[in-house]
Amino acid sequence: MTDTVLQLQALSVSLPAHGGGRLVPVLDALDLQVRAGGMTALVGESGSGKTVAALAAMRLLPRGARTSGQVRFDGLDLLAQDERRMRRLRGRIGMVFQNPLSALNPSATVGAQVAEGYRLHENGSRAQARRRAVELLGEVGIPDPARRLDDYPHQFSGGQRQRVMIAAALACDPRVLIADEPTTGLDPLVARQILALLRRLQQSHRLGVLFITHDLSIVEAHADRLTVLYAGRAVEWGGAGRFFAAPRHPYSQALLAAVPRLGQAALQGIPGRLPDPLLLPPGCRFAPRCPHHRPPCDDGYPPALGDAVEAACCLFPLAPPVPARNMNVVHAPPAGAAARQDDAALLALERVTVRHPVIGARRRTAPALQEVSLTLHRGECLGIVGESGSGKSTLGRAILHMLRHDGRILLDGQPVADLPGPERRRARRRIQPVFQDPRESLNPRLRIGDALAEPLRLGGLFDRARLDREVAALLAKVGLDPSLAGRWPGQVSGGQAQRVAVARALAARPEIVVLDEPTSALDVSTQAMLLTLLRDLARSEHVAYVMISHDLAAVSWLADRIAVLKDGRVVEAADTATLLAHPRHAYSAALVATAPRVQDGAGQVAAGPVRLPSPPA
């Protein structure tokens, strides 16, 4: 192909193991092309080696890394260039990192940082650099760029910061842009805007984009080629249209099935974990987790895949006509939504307002939560969706009584805040939290068994043998092996840690569990399993959930009712089915329109162009 601008050929990388001198293979013979004006997506879960591939292409790997293969750019093999030439070439390949807040220097103005590459590579004067920066910021859609030039990164919103990063990457007219998880951590609507921007630049500059992500749904509408990585090895690659219509590798298929979509009846996780890179299975690396596993899978890979344009690295690729997926966008009533509305509300919020105290400043700030009124019935799941800054986490913390608030929060008709001390403590125990980051929610110096025993002890159980039994039962309840009790939180995977957090919440025998973004720190495959677990537990434990998330698809999968939060107010609250079918507020409609949904056939993509009711963030 003549218009290939970046090509990785048999790229392999080994990194030195932490502490020791051993090399750990992290990327194995990756082939990949990025065409001018095209977008190639590199998809994989954490630990798959996708970021390493990007860093290897830019020669930015840490010292001691061993690389083999070729990275061809502009007719040159980048791996064979000396450092001085490489430095010059890096201007021609732009790079956008995941977290713009750490990729931007907080103490330099945005203008200076956007122009930094230009000044380094083009030797422009100060005035020229300024002009160029204004031009670039305008191009990526920062309103009034000349005025914003001297602002600092913290004065921009998350989406705008990512735009600034993209502007900086464009400074030297690159031919390729490598974007490493540029939308992770952004709200879905903002993420779509960033993608639309990349797509526009890709067309106007004939820019080749290598888009690295763990989120299949985000690239669905935009990538033209796609490579799926698993444990350092490409398992499937080819045109995006064909891929989404008919994934051939069991892992690709499982990954697609794991993304929650509107209208999906069942979520399918991928049990098991990534193989240890030092103990890779002899044959297919996915074999130990593969539902279609057969004995020959343990022996090897299909021969001669190297230069195939479309291929699945699998001895038994799934047949092209994919098993029929749910064709109609019908909301499957989760958990058993029926017959709950008749009894009195378990939890009622009456005009709850929360103002965050502003340190030092006298000026009034907009309340984080304004007069929110909601009810929750026994065994019900109430979903709260909204963008970051909409106050949804504040709402969660207010329900948990962790924040001072105006208005009333009634538990069984009683205002918890007015109860005397000991009774208030008992009332608080009836509402338990599950937080977003499982690492943060477990004390790193408390063994998992002790973490689970903590709520039991506080509940008055001190007998060692009974505690051990209860802990084992809790672990079993969330699908974990009881032997995990002896491990430290650092020794388990993120998904396991989050299950422990769920088990700990259940240990206090709550009536309500507040789930604050319970899946957003997890990999897609783990996410699906956790959601399924939560749904099963809702039935078996008779708990009510308040599920807070920016992911409408995930929330709708679990929730009976959904409240949409914007700028601290509930703009719409309705039955899940009603909200998905007939969103009344413009903002809810935009959320529903952009959420990934079950497709009705090959290659057709649901997410259309995004029209936001408010100016872009």
């Binding site: 001691g64 083999s68 293969g69 070729q70 064979a80 509940g459």
Partner: protein, 288 residues
């Protein structure tokens, strides 16, 4: 087209195999061995070497090390080995409790400030700044000069001027930990203040606290030695390593190396062992 070549990273770093071990458990081990040696000399050797540190031998002042006096004698003919061991006991029996007092004071102050309401925290931190602004040694000299310092009051005084840095550290750690999700979860499951402090805060801070305690011990030995060197620490006739050094300094024209080296080396060895243990703990913590 060039063959797929093999390129290693941009540079090579020489890796010394022993260095990693030495920076971790090695230094911890070395520190503990050194500390045991010092303790052995100060507390167990005197059981075998029963010379009286205060007995005068007017016939043999300033004698070189010999079989009768393994470390020689001072200007009054006192047995220097016995003096060094006695001074060591005096030094450690003040420095270790002083470190403990400092540690407790710093810990409690830091916890109270870190967990208290914002106004209390602000007030306590300003007070801490004020104490920190006082030059500790000068304050010590002031009190030592106007009071006759008994051992307990010396311990208290050392603790009184040394707690602020630790208190600030504990306060900052507390602030960092107290809003973490697992602490919030502990409150939500009905845990009270005491529960949160013991189950969560202290556990999370334990490594930092252990490291800082070892450094405090070293600091106290040094501070006491400095004080004694100025003649204000442990009161005569008892003396400390710093006092011995000061005594030897008076006679420096006579070059009594046997009086200078032993207390000097022992101060050095105890500081080194405290530092090694601290570094070792730090390295282990980094690995965990």
């Amino acid at each position: 087209m060039p063959d797929a070549g093999s390129v290693s990273g941009t540079g090579m770093r020489v890796r010394l195999p022993g260095l990693a071990a030495l920076s971790g458990s090695g230094s911890l081990l070395a520190g503990i061995v050194l500390a045991l040696l010092v303790l052995f000399l100060c507390f167990l050797v005197p059981l075998a070497w029963r010379a009286d540190p205060y007995a005068l031998n007017p016939l043999s002042p300033l004698s070189h090390p010999s079989r009768a006096f393994p470390l020689g004698t001072d200007e009054l003919g006192r047995d220097n080995l016995a003096r060094v061991m006695d001074a060591g006991r005096a030094t450690l029996l003040v420095a270790l409790p002083a470190a403990a007092v400092t540690f407790l004071a710093g810990l409690l102050y830091g916890l109270a400030s870190g967990l208290g309401p914002r106004l209390l925290d602000a007030a306590m931190m300003r007070l801490l700044d004020a104490v920190l602004a006082l030059p500790g040694l000068v304050v010590l000299i002031f009190f030592a000069a106007i009071l006759r310092l008994s051992t307990p009051s010396l311990i208290l005084l050392l603790g009184l001027i040394s707690w602020p840095p630790l208190a600030r550290l504990v306060r900052n750690e507390t602030r960092a930990v107290r809003d973490r999700d697992f602490v919030q979860a502990a409150y939500q499951m009905g845990g009270g203040f005491f529960h949160v402090v013991t189950t969560h805060l202290l556990r999370v801070m334990a490594p930092v606290l252990a490291v800082n305690f070892t450094f405090l011990v070293g600091e106290m030995i040094l501070l006491l030695s400095a004080l004694s060197f100025l003649g204000l620490g442990v009161q005569p006739p008892q003396t400390s390593w710093g006092g011995l050094l000061e005594g030897a300094l008076q006679l420096v024209a006579l070059d009594p190396w046997w009086l200078v080296l032993p207390p000097g080396l022992l101060i050095f060895a105890s500081l080194l062992s405290a530092s090694l243990i601290g570094q070792g703990l730090l390295a282990r913590q980094g690995r965990a």
